[in-house]
Every structure is written in structure tokens, then in C-alpha cells.
């Protein structure tokens, strides 16, 4: 998977604004600045792409939670008379080979992708953070061993590794979650480790050592809170990739099994009818694309808003 290029012009101007502002305003504080989240919101407002991404993402999140109530039809209800019907007012995205409403299936399927992708990402973040914190802080051989193990995981193409693992473990939602988590642990781990390496020689951490703080206190109270912004950005990036991965696995038939309204699975089932009824494939594919793009716009925005210095606070 190719990492998207995250720099763009507006990003550079953002940094420029920031540094110029401190230069002009001088270092003298002496008064409370607006709360951090307000500052984030103010910066986010100025980035239309990020704002659109966030809105679209929130819309999908809404569907994930309330999908079954929003959907006009039961996603399993078959209608033999309306097989492969083209989009109409009553079925805006058309119907599939069993006459099921595609719109409803997409709406209800949102929860599936959010749950699997989200849970997988969450586990990856938790374990990755633990590994990164530990590796970065102890350093030396322990660090070396852990990082090389992660490198081994990273050296496989992620989709290939996922297919092998799922083929061995058997396709199921739970296994997809675990595979997503396993694949993303190294990436999260590396981000956290680099933050720790950056922070552990900072003077406030040395001040903590000088007053005899325990290692766990230094890790969890001094270092971890300062790694949160980049960690959050990384998590949102991972989530956008996980949507893609879960959909791909669904398409390959290695994820959830029919009749679940999984988006990837829908594309898989629809591909035989693609030539006579393109909407069967087109709409689920589009929705995946929209969600992936929206999520990555949002995570790009998060990066610009939370880490204006280019990833370093």
C-alpha cells in the first residue's frame, strides 16, 4: 500500500503562519491562550477539504450507529419480481440479484465496516502503543529485538499476509479484526517509539528522573500524554486504511460470510452481473471510495491541525 503524500501548499503556509505569529507576538505569554480544542477548531475551519472529510465521516458514523433505523427496507428482504432492477425512486441504488434493496444493504453494512475496522485499529493502537513505549524507553537490545520483529511483520505485503492468515484461521469477523490489528501493530508501534525517542531525552523527563520517578510514572504520566496528538493522527490514518483492507478481504470472500451486507462482499457477489446491472457493483464501490477518501482527508486535517510543526511539538 502506498502512503499518500501528505504535504501540500496549505500545510506549508500553516507552519509559516504559526512561526510568524510567535515571532511577531513575542514569547511573552502572561495570559491564558484559548483552550487547545478551540485552537484546533479554528484551524480546522480554514481547511475546507478536511472539513468536508470530517462531515462525510461523521455522516457515515451516524449510519453505522443508526443504520438499521435509517434504512428504508429490511436488508435481507428478497423480492423475486424486482431482481437487478435499475435505480428508481423507491430503490435509489437499484436492487441486486435477489431483489434486495442495495441502498438499505449499504446503509446497514456501514456498521459492519466500522466495527471490524474500528475494533481492529483500536487493538492495534493499544498493543502498538505498549510495544512502542517499551521499546523506545528501554532501548538497547530489547528495542532492537522488538523492532526487528515488527519489521518482519512489515516486510510482507499487508493484503497477502492477511489472506494467508485468514485462509489458515478461517474466515470470520473475529479473525478479520485480529488480522487488522496484527497488521497495524508495527506501524503504530513505530510512531509511538519515535515519539518516545524524541521525548525521553527532553528536559522535563530528565527532571523527573532527577527527582527519582519510577519508570512507569515517566512512561505513562510524562511521555504518553505528549504522544497523544501524533497517536490520534496515526490511528485515524490506520482506520482509513483498515476500511480499505476490510472491504478487500470481504471482496475476496475471506471476511464475513453471506448474507451479511458487507460492502466488499456485495461487490464480490455482484461482479457476475456487472455487465447487465452495473449499479449492483458501482454503488458499493463508490461508497467504499467515498468513505476511504473522507477518512483520509479527515486524518490529514487532523495532522495539520494537531501537529502544525510537521509532526513534532
Amino acid at each position: 500500500m502506498v502512503e499518500p503524500n501528505l504535504t501540500d501548499e496549505s500545510f506549508d503556509t500553516a507552519i509559516m503562519d504559526e512561526t510568524m505569529a510567535t515571532e511577531v507576538l513575542g514569547p511573552e505569554g502572561g495570559r491564558p491562550r484559548p483552550k487547545q480544542w478551540r485552537l484546533y477548531w479554528r484551524r480546522l475551519r480554514k481547511r475546507p477539504a478536511a472539513l468536508v472529510g470530517t462531515v462525510v465521516f461523521c455522516f457515515f458514523l451516524f449510519l453505522a450507529v443508526f443504520g438499521p433505523w435509517v434504512a428504508p427496507y429490511d436488508y435481507q428482504k428478497q423480492d423475486a419480481k424486482l431482481r437487478l432492477d435499475s435505480p428508481t425512486v423507491s430503490h435509489p441504488f437499484g436492487t441486486d440479484q435477489f431483489g434486495r434493496d442495495i441502498f438499505s444493504r449499504i446503509v446497514v453494512g456501514t456498521r459492519n465496516i466500522f466495527l471490524i475496522g474500528g475494533l481492529g485499529t483500536l487493538i492495534a493502537v493499544v498493543i502498538g502503543t505498549a510495544v512502542g513505549l517499551l521499546a523506545g524507553y528501554i532501548g538497547g537490545m530489547g528495542d532492537e529485538v522488538m523492532m526487528r520483529l515488527l519489521d518482519v511483520l512489515l516486510s510482507f505485503p499487508s493484503l497477502l499476509l492477511a489472506m494467508v492468515l485468514l485462509a489458515a484461521a478461517g474466515p470470520s469477523s473475529r479473525n478479520v479484526v485480529l488480522v487488522v490489528a496484527l497488521l497495524y501493530i508495527p506501524m503504530v508501534g513505530r510512531v509511538v517509539r519515535s515519539m518516545v525517542l524524541d521525548l525521553k531525552n527532553k528536559e522535563f523527563v530528565e527532571a523527573a528522573r532527577v527527582r527519582g520517578e519510577k519508570r512507569s510514572y515517566i512512561l505513562f504520566r510524562e511521555i504518553l500524554p505528549n504522544s497523544l496528538p501524533p497517536l490520534l493522527v496515526e490511528a485515524s490514518m490506520r482506520f482509513s486504511y483498515s476500511i480499505f483492507l476490510v472491504a478487500s478481504l470481504g471482496y475476496l470472500g475471506l471476511g464475513v460470510q453471506p448474507p451479511s451486507p458487507d460492502w466488499g462482499l456485495q461487490i464480490n457477489e455482484a461482479r457476475n452481473f456487472f455487465q447487465i446491472a452495473p449499479w449492483v457493483l458501482l454503488f458499493p464501490a463508490c461508497v467504499i471510495a467515498v468513505l476511504v477518501i473522507a477518512t483520509s482527508l479527515m486524518s490529514d486535517g487532523l495532522r495539520q491541525v494537531m501537529l502544525p510543526g510537521g509532526g513534532r511539538n
Binding site: T13, M16, D17, M20, A21, E23, V24, L25, G26, P27, E28, G29, G30, R31, P32, R33, R42, R43, K46, K202, E203, F204, E206, A207, R209, V210, R211, G212, E213, E222, P225, N226, N313
Partner: protein, 702 residues
């Protein structure tokens, strides 16, 4: 006849009053930021003449860089010149197209930045980068350009220019690089040379060499120099006229000597008082402080912008903003009460107070911390780095030991070894005679409580996610073992004792200025009531006025709590102001140590002598013998044999220095010098090293 006379008069006049090369009139510069539009410079005017250097002085946030860069129209994308006029050789710059500007930038305007390493492209050899300028702006072909580069490098006193041209920037030292950048800027003999803190990133010794060079080039080239700096000492070395900026406006403009001997604006007067005077006496006096902080440019007071912090303020000052007017010949002040501004010497005596009468108990006090033959050696792939190589230090109860040296001298590593952050690899560190475990992790709580540290970088020394109150309470509950309520009460007391309002208790570090953060760091260090505090360049990154008030604070807390300090700095003025005893270190070894008054009077170690003659003192009347060190501190991996200072020593004797380790020569009291030259000989040689002007009290050599 008449024609001949007419022809002569103007040329005569021109010889007396050199023609202005660069003129700024009523310039306004705005920045558009996420906080709104900021008027960073307002209605500023200045003019620089041929062969003249104009010093633009001010604290950070005063708008000096903005003014300089804005005037040559080299602003960030969100900055713009909104009004005024800028003329270079009579040509108006504000109307020029980007293309015309680009031609002008390279050929008629040269710029030297603060960091030479980032001003040069790291992947292109020096010769090629410099030749590029000659080819682009002088239209030379490759061989002519090369000849020109050699000529320029020779002019900036670069040893072996041909060899330097083949090097990449990372292969040269900071001083050499800055010379290359200066050569590049002067390549086209520009009319205007803008120098933005060109020596701030360099060591004092290198700084002195570069300043000498700039002073000489000023005579040789026709360029007018606009020299930006925050350092009043540096100003005295090269500027002819000085403009003092404050929050985007000029407060005062005058010739160098007038400004220092008779400032006519209270801000200038206060700035001069913030800087420690070079006067090593046992008596410790406070420095002048300026209450409050420089206002943000979007929250300026209605009248005089300095009025809220001014000691001579009257109600009328706060009503209308006084313009910059010529109050004496060639002397402009923006103070409407300029006639009442006192003479600096009187004012300084009045505005400061003796914090501690003298270090009288210095003799018979017990030693609190002692480092004996301390070594810190690091293993590297190609050898051993001897960062600290046999250092002996003693710190007495309630006193300050100042440690000075260039960067790379190992002064910070010594401090880290004492506190245990970088465990010593040899020797012994004792606290009240008891040997301490080498690393922090192995020391008991009671020991940790007694030794604390204030770090250099105020931005990194507080955890950005924890409140001020949290930061101060933590050592209280951890080391002093008090409960939450008591810790809170004491933390609030500590805030008061470092002169911060108690309302800061719940603030996060990003809501504080650099000086305020450092005050919190000092409060945190004092929280567990330690006996000994290591101060690792705690004031170096701050503005002069903030430095002054922090030095006052450290001194005052020392008297109150009877704490001992190890004060590390590269700034001899600060060290002599605070310290009772001084250790001069070079390449991991002490060169000279003893009472401050003894170390700073002849006999000096040749290295101390070089540092003293290089330190830019903010007093144009002091005469310093120009003793300059070549090169830079060698890598601690290749410590020279014999006396480790011999390759750079201006008083190098020969084989003796190169082959044999020098003896410790004992002077008066516990003054010791690590040198082959006998002390009386040194005294004789060094009588002229530092001569104070007539206006000064001769108490220095006592």
C-alpha cells in the same frame, strides 16, 4: 570661477556627511495571522550611510528582523509592507516587480543569516555555491567566477581558500561557514548588507573573530551595514549608530558612544542596566529590572508604548504617543520626558541594591559537593570520547561556582555527571564528604532531594501537558513527603517567591513566556528544599531583560535559602556577576579555578585570557587586547597530547607544551592555573588584556 566653486561645495559636503545609501521612511509592516492582522512595525524611519553600520537592537518581539527583512521586501507570505518608503541609492524598492527585486537581492543587497549551516546548501561544495553568485549577478564565466571566489575567501581571511572551495558545508566549522556566507554576501560588493544576528549561534571566541572581520570589511567595502542583534556587547564592537526598537517602533536612535554614555530614553537606560557590568567584586548587586513584559503588537497601550513599564511615567505619557524626535544633534528619542532621564552611572547605583555584602564566609565554610578527578568517557565506534577528563571541583555551602567554557568543553557533562544523569566513568563525587552512587537511579531519595537541576531550554523543561501547579507539587509530594493540601500551599508560596502570580497555578506551560517557564522550573527545583542546584545555562536562551531579572531571582533565593549553585554558562559576564568562584574548562579539563576576583584578574590562564578578550562587553570605553583563538575546540575523541590547549594557545611555548602535561601552578588562596608558564610571567604579559576606560572605577584590578 563660480562654476568651479559650485562644483566643489557639494563634493566637500559629501565628504563630511557621507551620503545615505539606504533610507527607510515611515514604514509600516503588517502580518496576517490566525490571530488577525498584526502591525508588526509602525512608522519606522532610519538611514544608513556608506561605510557605516547601523545596529538594530531590541529584545525578541521588538520587530527588528521584521523591519530589516520587510524593508528589503523579503517577508513571509503573510507579511506585507502597508505604507512608507524604502530607498536604496535613491531607488524606491516598494514599487519594484518581483523580477527586479530578485536581481536587486543578489547584486545590491547581501544578507547574512543567523545560522550559516542552513544558509548554505548542504549537498553542494562551497566553491560552487559561491561561484554561482558571481556567475548569476556579475555575469562571469566559470574561471573568472572561480578566481573571484578565491579572492573573496582570501578577503574574509579564510585559510587555504582553494581547499575550502572543495569542501561541503558540514565539513567546516561554524565560524568558517559564517565567513563563507559573508564572502558570498559581499561577492557583488552590494550597497547594503543585512546581517541578522550573524554571530549569535557562534562561540564567544569565534564570534570575536567574525566581529573583527566584519569591522574590517566595513572599511574595505562600500556597503552600508544593517546589523540586527539583541546583544548590547556586540553592538559596541561594530556599530557606528544604534537604533533601539521596542514592540515595533524605535525608542531611540543615536551614535554608539552617545547612546551608551548618555541614553535619552528610559528603555535604553533600563536595557543597559539589565546587563551585568564586568566588575568582579565579592559584593553581589542586583541588576535593573523592567517590570512587566513587552506588549503584544495587537494590544498596545494608547500613549507611549513603554509607559506601562516606565519608571519616569507621568499621566501625560499615557495620553498621546510621542514621536521620535531629534532631541540632541544626531540623537533621536521617543520620550517626551527625555530631559529627566538620568546619567546611567547614577541611575544604576540607585536602581540596584546589594543582595549580599561579600563572600566573607568563603574561607572557612565546609565543602558541600566535591568532584574528584571525575571522568566521563563514552565508547564510540572509532575510539573513546573523553567528554570529561579528570575534573576537580568544589562547591562551598551557600556559594556559587561558575563554570565557563566554549561549547564542546564538557561543562554540561560535568554537571550531568554530578547529578547522575550521565553517570561518571571514573573519579568520585561526594556530597558532604560522602561518596555518591554514579547514576540517579541508584541514589536514595534523600540524596535526590538535596541535588536538583535547572535546565537550559525553558520550553522543554516543563511537561506541556501538566499544569504549573502540578509541576511544582510533584517534587513536594514525592521528595519532601508532604500531603496534597500542604503541597498545594507550599507550591503557591513558591510561585510567589519566584514572583509569579498564584493564578498561574492552573496554567499550562504554553500559556507562559520563556522567562516565566524558567521561573516555574526554578520553583520546581527549589520545591524539595535542596542544598545544591545545578543551573545549566538557565538564562542563555532568554532576552537580556529577562536574563537580568532571573539572575536577580537566583541571587535572592540563594541568600534566602542558603543554597549552593553550580552555574554553567558560556557568558563570562553572567558568570562573573553570579559566581563566588569560577572554573574555566576546556576540552574536558579545568584550566583555571579559584575565587572569581582572582580568576578574572591577571595572572590568567592563556585560555581565560582569550575568553576575556573575546567577550563583547556592553561598554564602548573598555579596551580589550585582541587575542583571538584560531580554529575550534577539537573533538573530545582526539585530545591533543601535552597541554590539551596547545594547538590553539596564543602563548604556545614549543615542545614543552606539546609534549608534557602542564603543572598546576598555585596562586593566591585556592587560585590554580594549569599552565607551563610561571604565574609572575603571565601577570607581566597580561597587564594590558582588559583595560577599563577612564569613566570606570579602577576597582577591577584590586
Amino acid at each position: 570661477m563660480a562654476i568651479a566653486i559650485q562644483g566643489q561645495v557639494p563634493s566637500d559636503g559629501a565628504a563630511k556627511a557621507p551620503r545615505p545609501v539606504f533610507e527607510i521612511e515611515g514604514l509600516h509592516i503588517d502580518y496576517t495571522t490566525e490571530f488577525g492582522v498584526l502591525h508588526a512595525a509602525r512608522n519606522v524611519s532610519l538611514s544608513v550611510h556608506e561605510h557605516e553600520s547601523f545596529g538594530l537592537v531590541g529584545e525578541s518581539g521588538s520587530g527588528k528582523s521584521t523591519l530589516a527583512m520587510g524593508s528589503i521586501r523579503y517577508l513571509a507570505s503573510n507579511g506585507k509592507v502597508s505604507d512608507g518608503s524604502v530607498r536604496l541609492n535613491g531607488v524606491e524598492l516598494l514599487g519594484l516587480s518581483p523580477k527586479q527585486l530578485r536581481e536587486l537581492w543578489g547584486s545590491s543587497i547581501g544578507v547574512v543569516y543567523q545560522s550559516p549551516l542552513s544558509a548554505l546548501n548542504p549537498s553542494i561544495v562551497i566553491g560552487k555555491q559561491l561561484a554561482e553568485v558571481a556567475r548569476q549577478h556579475l555575469g562571469m564565466d566559470a574561471s573568472a567566477a572561480k578566481a573571484r571566489v578565491v579572492e573573496m575567501l582570501t578577503k574574509v581571511a579564510m585559510p587555504d581558500p582553494e581547499a575550502v572551495m572543495k569542501r561541503y558545508p558540514h565539513q567546516l566549522s561554524g565560524g568558517m561557514l559564517q565567513r563563507c556566507v559573508i564572502a558570498m554576501a559581499l561577492m557583488t560588493n552590494p550597497s547594503l548588507l543585512v546581517m541578522d544576528e550573524p554571530t549569535t549561534a557562534l562561540d564567544v571566541t569565534t564570534q570575536a573573530v567574525v566581529l573583527d572581520l566584519v569591522a574590517e570589511l566595513k572599511r574595505e567595502f562600500d556597503s552600508a551595514i544593517l546589523y540586527i542583534t539583541h546583544d548590547l556587547g556586540v553592538v559596541t564592537k561594530i556599530c557606528d549608530r544604534v537604533g533601539v526598537m521596542y514592540a515595533g517602533e524605535f525608542m531611540e536612535q543615536a551614535g554608539l558612544r552617545e547612546l551608551f554614555s548618555r541614553p535619552l530614553h528610559p528603555y535604553t537606560l533600563d536595557l543597559l542596566g539589565c546587563v551585568p557590568r564586568f566588575d568582579p567584586t565579592p559584593e553581589k548587586r542586583s541588576l535593573v529590572t523592567i517590570p512587566g513584559a513587552i506588549p503584544r503588537v495587537d494590544e498596545l497601550p494608547p500613549g507611549c508604548i513603554f509607559a506601562p513599564r516606565c519608571e519616569f511615567v507621568q499621566p501625560a505619557c499615557t495620553e498621546a504617543r510621542p514621536p521620535l524626535v531629534e532631541v540632541a544633534p544626531e540623537h533621536h528619542s521617543a520620550c517626551r520626558r527625555w530631559p529627566v532621564v538620568p546619567v546611567p552611572s547614577e541611575y544604576l547605583r540607585e536602581a540596584t541594591e546589594a543582595v549580599r555584602a561579600s563572600g566573607s564566609e568563603a574561607r572557612d565554610v565546609d565543602i558541600l559537593v566535591e568532584a574528584k578527578d571525575t571522568q566521563v568517557h563514552f565508547k564510540a565506534p572509532r575510539g573513546v570520547i573523553r567528554a570529561v577528563d579528570g575534573v576537580d571541583l568544589k562547591v562551598a555551602v551557600g556559594q556559587t561556582l561558575g563554570v565557563v567554557g566554549e561549547s564542546g568543553s564538557g561543562k554540561t557533562t560535568v554537571a550531568r555527571a554530578i547529578i547522575g544523569l550521565t553517570p561518571a566513568t571514573g573519579g568520585d563525587i561526594t556530597l558532604r564528604g560522602k561518596s555518591l552512587p554514579r547514576s540517579t537511579g541508584k541514589r536514595p531519595r534523600s540524596t535526590l532531594r538535596e541535588i536538583q537541576m535547572v535546565f537550559q531550554n525553558p520550553d522543554a523543561s516543563l511537561n506541556p501537558t501538566r499544569t504549573v501547579g502540578d509541576a511544582i507539587m510533584r517534587p513536594l509530594s514525592l521528595l519532601a513527603g508532604v500531603d496534597h493540601d500542604e503541597a498545594k500551599r507550599r507550591a503557591q508560596d513558591l510561585l510567589r517567591s519566584v514572583s509569579l502570580p498564584v493564578s498561574y497555578f492552573d496554567r499550562l506551560p504554553h500559556e507562559l513566556s520563556g522567562g516565566e517557564k524558567q521561573r516555574v522550573a526554578i520553583a520546581r527545583a527549589f520545591a524539595a528544599e535542596p542544598e545544591f542546584i545545578l543551573c545549566d545555562e538557565p538564562i542563555s536562551s532568554l532576552d537580556v531583560s529577562v536574563q537580568g531579572s532571573l539572575m536577580n531571582l537566583l541571587m535572592q533565593l540563594q541568600v534566602e535559602k542558603h543554597t549552593s549553585y553550580l552555574f554553567i554558562s558560556h557568558d563570562l559576564s553572567a558568570v562573573q556577576h553570579l559566581a563566588d568562584a569560577i572554573a574555566v574548562v576546556y576540552l574536558g579539563h579545568v584550566m583555571e579555578i579559584g575565587d572569581a576576583t582572582k580568576v578574572l584578574a591577571p595572572p590568567f590562564h592563556p585560555y581565560t585570557e582569550a575568553l576575556l578578550s573575546a567577550v563583547p562587553l556592553p561598554d564602548p570605553d573598555v579596551k580589550q587586547k585582541p587575542i583571538r583563538l584560531g580554529g575550534s575546540v577539537p573533538s573530545a575523541m582526539y585530545v591533543p597530547a601535552g597541554c590539551r590547549f596547545h594547538p590553539r594557545c596564543p602563548r604556545f611555548l614549543g615542545d614543552l607544551c606539546a609534549n608534557e602535561e602542564p603543572p598546576w601552578r598555585e596562586g593566591e588562596g585556592d587560585h590554580r592555573i594549569y599552565c607551563h608558564i610561571p604565574l609572575d610571567h603571565l601577570t607581566h604579559l597580561q597587564a594590558e588584556t582588559l583595560v577599563f576606560g577612564e569613566g570606570d572605577s579602577p576597582g577591577e584590578n584590586a
